[in-house]
Symmetry: C2
Amino acid sequence: MNKITVGLIGYGNVGSGVVNFLQKRKSYFKDKFHIEFELKTICDRSIKKKSITGLDSTTGLTTDYKSVINDPQIDVIIELIGGVNPARQIALGALQNDKHVITANKALLALHGKELFQQAQKCNRNIYFESSVMAGVPLIKMLTEGLAGHKFKSLYGIINGTCNYILTGMTQKNLTFGQALTDAQAKGFAESNPTLDINGMDSASKLAILVSLTMGKFINAEQVYTEGITQISHHDIEHAESLGLTIKLLAIAKKAKREIEARVHPTLISKKHPLSDVNGIFNAMFINASPIGDILLSGEGAGQMTAASGIISDLFQLASRVGCPANQYLANIYREAPKTKIRKIDDISTRFYIRFMAPDKVGILSKITGILSKHKISINSVTQKAHDHWASALPVIMLTDPAQEKMVRVALDKIHKQGIVKSKPVAIRMEELK
Amino acid sequence: MNKITVGLIGYGNVGSGVVNFLQKRKSYFKDKFHIEFELKTICDRSIKKKSITGLDSTTGLTTDYKSVINDPQIDVIIELIGGVNPARQIALGALQNDKHVITANKALLALHGKELFQQAQKCNRNIYFESSVMAGVPLIKMLTEGLAGHKFKSLYGIINGTCNYILTGMTQKNLTFGQALTDAQAKGFAESNPTLDINGMDSASKLAILVSLTMGKFINAEQVYTEGITQISHHDIEHAESLGLTIKLLAIAKKAKREIEARVHPTLISKKHPLSDVNGIFNAMFINASPIGDILLSGEGAGQMTAASGIISDLFQLASRVGCPANQYLANIYREAPKTKIRKIDDISTRFYIRFMAPDKVGILSKITGILSKHKISINSVTQKAHDHWASALPVIMLTDPAQEKMVRVALDKIHKQGIVKSKPVAIRMEELK
């Protein structure tokens, strides 16, 4: 019987899910896998207020995380408090005390991943983090083990369930952003303060981790160009639909030669692509890697038991390595390829959806297209509805060919500042997902 | 530097892909992962006729597999000859000689998996088999590690690229079965003798492996109820489309309480479900497991480099365990839960699409529905087109509510034998994919 002694720090939603899973499956793990996970200590700053039932009499409860990371009997610390501090101190302390670490903490890894992995390597221990991206849907394992040795060309991810739920509501039920957010909050799919989700920062942290794992350069969340979904109007969602497109908050990473793109922003994709069918709180990752080609993985990206199952998968990984040296592949994943750079957003080339609100005057289209053309922006299609005498401005929708980001920004700025259009043009990037 | 000494038996399409991958990524593996895979011997019965370039001068070539499995320097045998014998002797011999085994051989595992895994456990070695289902798309790793400890409720798989390519051609290009098969063969997506693919046996072998891994009972391919796609008519594909459905060859496994269903057959699914968008040679697996919920994994299910990448993933797994005892979880995966039975096809309850060719006479519908009703088959919808004096018979399409397989077979048999309809009714099972 292999035994792993566990200290769990952070008895919140996910923590209680993990404890519940371990209790329920205790005899199954013993019988089928000859493994016993002994939950020695649960730590939470509010432990006295929490009602935890069904624990073994031997499980201790404490508010003092230091006692847990200093306990020589504990083999692994499960860190589930979230945030950066004291999670960083907990992780470092655990490693320095010869303990493995299991975490779901994307913010911590996106900021301090390099330091933590170097510390793990020094201490001959491992950090496991399946639930940091797409909860327990086994993405991390797929990238680091299933596709070990692959060259990753692109990752396109829907990796924030809150944003995806809101955009789905706007698309399928014609809700405004505000209505969709309220609905998400009522259903528990958005926090009362949803900022980190709807401004894209949650997706950016996750993308930083994925880029660091797959593209040979450690990047942190701040290096990911990030836009959230707060500026998305249901008008644009409708226009997109009529063009056979749908709007998703995509986390995009690409690598060609030694340049990496890493960006999170609303993106128009074809309704024919499987990613467009990933709705509600579902997450998905669409990967292109050589030599395997395209892979799509999707599942619920959040939720108590979905996140808990990733932690359990990490515990199993640990259990399968009792008596083994630390897994050097996990420690080495942050090894960086030399001379790899991050492309600035200004230098990105992509197609754009642009919506102008054009006043009902002669010559507007000519002025707009003239400026676009001067900035080397080629127009792929234009949709302009017939004149409507009641409207003060009408939408003109243009889809461009690939154009340089900087040129697009400068051109649209000019168009707006010269008073050619009624309000600031809306520009949303497109992706072909090849 | 960890070193793994490899003996590769079977230098065919996949074998040459593996050798190619190992050669190309040699320094990448050394630099990033500190791992050296030494390809000591390549064995193939036609080795003299094969042109293999770029090998190290130390790599031996032979036609004699026994010399390879008896070589004490070799740590792992990669078996890529396919078929059951002598692949079984190779695998057993390798294990008995303290070597690990990596294989893509679904026929072997579906038939002898239990014996092989027991032998592996006895010899304290592991069998790795990522490429046996869905090529290198990391399904096996997901099921056995990423979702370790989960209870699997259902698996719905499109796991034969040949059949999926043919059905896609029939659906999207209105081809007949014969035309679609010819096209598949011309493109290299179907063998010159495509029998094992189009009769469903390939999918059945793969499903047997998946059931054995996830549902606590070792089953072999013969225990999987199997129908292929040779009876699918483009008429039914068109009718399905008009009903918002599409026809896929699905490999279906379900477990409830202690009963398992395992079947492969053409199945109508909703065009709204993501599985309906899995086309051409792409494969997919739609899983429902507790507590994670639904997961979808898809990618190219065949192809030289796709299959080779699964072998490489297995080599990495091995490499990460240098200095470790054999992975008992892999050895234990065939551990069986007591009293688990396989449900007979007769006892399956599912919805059916049924096409009757009804002569233009009074009372046909009444006779049909009368017999169905006597056999407790409730009709969900009927589509019958208007009379056409030029046609000797017209299609009447019925979609039933869930009905017992045996009752449906008996009822349709009666309807046919009583001469109520012009030809044998076509019945295709439906799945809601919940």
